[in-house]
């Protein structure tokens, strides 16, 4: 782990290790259990409706199938939402917005890939602009297969996610911190070496004590190199290269 390039001191691996489930005290186990139960019964869903899947959500949410029965409600802002629901295909442009949205959400956060497109590009599998595997760029908790999945399938997917949260198995969001370098590498492959988000994910990983072997690496080293890009936010790439050369 290369610590010199980062202002945030990442704690050594031993001290940020989470105690295993069997190592916890009895009280902690009970509290965790209650917490997980409550968490799984109160979920706010942020819909990222750029694909055709959005049309299946109104019947799922409203009186016909009524998702509020299982404790789910739509939410309009990322910072107050638990679940990011990606309803359908993502282009390279919209994936950028999804990542910016995802990084704004508070932990614990869950991502649901909806429809075949998030799994393997779906019917747009041979399109130059459509992203194939969502799981390469952000960690996904549950996929709902189908083109389109019916509301029954959506509900089944939500119930599956609820079961995972209740059992403490929906931990994909931790993987984003532990293997940030891998996710960032895939992002940089599509968006270019100078890809930056306003969120300091490495700092957050240290804060949550989730920094692992895969948090820092060759791809996160590039973040530092292009950090000045933040100040020149909105400057076209060519102009930025000129600015950089002149300074």
């Amino acid at each position: 782990m290369n610590q010199q390039n980062f202002p945030v001191q990442v704690a050594p691996l031993e001290s940020c290790r989470e105690p295993g489930p069997e190592e916890r005290s009895m009280l902690r186990k009970v509290l965790d259990r209650v917490g997980q139960y409550c968490q799984s019964r109160s979920l706010f869903v942020l819909h990222y409706c750029t694909g055709c899947g959005a049309i299946e959500l109104p019947p799922s949410m409203t009186s016909r199938f009524d998702l509020e029965r299982v404790g789910m409600q739509p939410m309009v802002t990322p910072r107050q939402a638990d679940i990011l629901l990606i309803t359908g295909y993502l282009s390279v442009k919209t994936l950028k917005r999804v990542i910016l949205t995802y990084e704004q959400m508070q932990s614990p956060k869950y991502v649901m890939g909806f429809g075949s497109c998030t799994i393997n590009g779906g019917m747009y599998w041979n399109s130059y602009a459509t992203v194939k595997r969502l799981g390469d760029y952000i960690p996904v908790d549950t996929y709902i297969a189908g083109c389109m999945p019916r509301p029954e399938a959506i509900q089944q997917g939500f119930l599956d996610l609820i079961e995972r949260i209740d059992g403490g198995r929906a931990v994909a969001w931790k993987d984003y911190y532990r293997n940030y370098d891998r996710y960032l590498g895939h992002q940089q492959h599509l968006f270019g070496r100078d890809w930056l988000t306003p969120t300091d994910v490495v700092g957050e990983a240290a804060h949550y004590r989730l920094a692992g072997d895969g948090t820092l690496g060759p791809h996160t080293a590039l973040l530092d190199q292009y950090a000045g890009y933040h100040q020149a936010w909105g400057v076209p790439r060519e102009q930025y290269a000129e600015l950089e050369a002149s300074s």
């Binding site: 390279v92 442009k93 950028k96 799994i119 393997n120 590009g121 599998w125 041979n126 399109s127 130059y128 602009a129 992203v131 194939k132 595997r133 799981g135 390469d136 960690p139 996904v140 908790d141 549950t142 996929y143 599956d160 931990v171 994909a172 931790k174 993987d175 532990r178 293997n179 891998r182 492959h189 599509l190 968006f191 692992g212 895969g214």
Partner: protein
Amino acid sequence: MTQQVPEQLHAVFREIPGIRVQHDSERRVRVTLRADTLPALLELLKGRGGYLHLSAISCVEWPESDEFELVYHLWSYESKMMVSAHIRIPRDPGRFISVYDIHSPAGFFERDIHEMYGVFFDGAPDMGKFILTEWDGPPPMRKDFSTLGYVNDTYEWQPYQPEWLQQAEQKGARVLPQEGPDGPLRKTR
């Protein structure tokens, strides 16, 4: 089946040398003409025929003859007829004159065609990037651009039926692709 072209339109078409008119259905006239006469046709149709609305400009690439075909779709609210004007321009250098001064919506259509096919329109207000703002490659709608080749080079595929998943399904377990032997979630457990 060729029907009678209305006299109003016929008078316009008579002005254009070398024009070929096909009147295939009641409300649709297809004309094929030389590229250099197209602005004159659009002016005449707008001024005399009432064809005020340019619905779209489409582009077709013909690799056999090394040409781009540009189709200008024009609509008249008075006679409720569509005229589609077909011209062909050589693929190299792929330049044509903009009709923005006749129909201002052409600015968007030409910008789109420039982005997707690489045809440059002289006199267009803006030939900058339009929808593919983050695309650095060749114009993607050209026939010589291999979409599948690009996709195979850029993205990785998700195996649909890997063995470990089949085994897990036989046991009745629900497993994510990330939880498979190569998946990241597996390693962090």
